[in-house]
Amino acid sequence: MSILHLIRSSAFHRSDFEQCLSIAQSNDTIIFCDDGCYNLSHPLTTNLLAQENKLTIKVLQDHAQARAIIAPQTIEGITMEDLVSLTFTHDKVITWQ
C-alpha cells in the first residue's frame, strides 16, 4: 500500500508539501516537479533527509535544471519516463498543488 505524491508547489509559497508530509506513510514516494523543485532546499526536505524514514524523494531532472536548481546527491533526478513507470509501482497518486 504505497502512494506516489507529486509535489508541484513550493513550500516557501504554499503549505501543500507540509500537508503532504502530515499524511505520507513509509514506503510512499515523493516527487518534486514543476515549482515543487524549489523544495529541494526547504527545511522540510533537509529535515526529512536527516531523519530515519522510509520515504523516498526524487526530482524531475529537467524541471530542476530549468530552474537552475541543483539537487543534492541524496535525491535522485528522474526523467518523465521514470515518473510514468513509478505510477505503476504505487497503488495511488496524489497531486499536491
Binding site: 500500500m1 500537508q19 502530515s22 499524511i23 505520507a24 506513510q25 495511488k92 496524489i94 497531486t95 498543488q97
Partner: protein
C-alpha cells in the same frame, strides 16, 4: 472503517477561487451515482466548516448550506484534521454534524484506505 472508492481532500478556504464549490460538486455527483465518497478537511479547508458564516456579505454563493444535504446523499464519512484546527485556533463548532476530528496519523490512515484521492 470505510472502503469508499473516492476520497476528496478539501484544503482551500471557502471563497478561494470556488475550489470548495467544485469539490462539493464532485462529491455530490459521485454520491448520486452510489459511489462511496469520503471527505477529508485539511489545512485551510477546515475553514469551510466553521459555523455562522455570512457569504452574502461578500455577495458570494452560499454553497456551504448544501453541506447539510450530505446525509441525504449518504455521505457519512467526513474527517477533519485536528492539527489544522488547533494551528488555526478553531473550536470544534461546525455547521454540519456527524463529522470526525482525527489526529494526523489516524487522518492519514483513513485517507490511505481509499482507491482514488482527489485534492482541491
Amino acid at each position: 472503517m470505510t472502503t469508499n472508492l473516492l476520497a476528496i481532500i478539501n484544503s482551500s478556504a471557502p471563497y478561494n477561487r470556488n475550489l470548495g464549490k467544485e469539490s462539493l460538486d464532485v462529491a455530490l455527483i459521485f454520491a448520486s451515482f452510489e459511489q462511496g465518497v469520503s471527505l477529508f478537511f485539511q489545512g485551510d479547508g477546515v475553514y469551510q466548516l466553521i459555523d455562522q458564516q455570512n457569504p452574502q456579505k461578500i455577495s458570494a454563493k452560499d454553497y456551504l448550506k448544501t453541506f447539510s444535504a450530505f446525509e441525504f446523499y449518504d455521505i457519512e464519512d467526513i474527517y477533519i484534521c485536528q492539527e489544522s484546527l488547533t494551528v488555526r485556533n478553531l473550536s470544534e463548532s461546525f455547521h454540519i454534524d456527524n463529522v470526525q476530528v482525527l489526529p494526523p496519523e489516524t487522518f492519514a490512515k483513513h485517507l490511505a484506505m481509499h482507491q482514488q484521492i482527489l485534492r482541491f
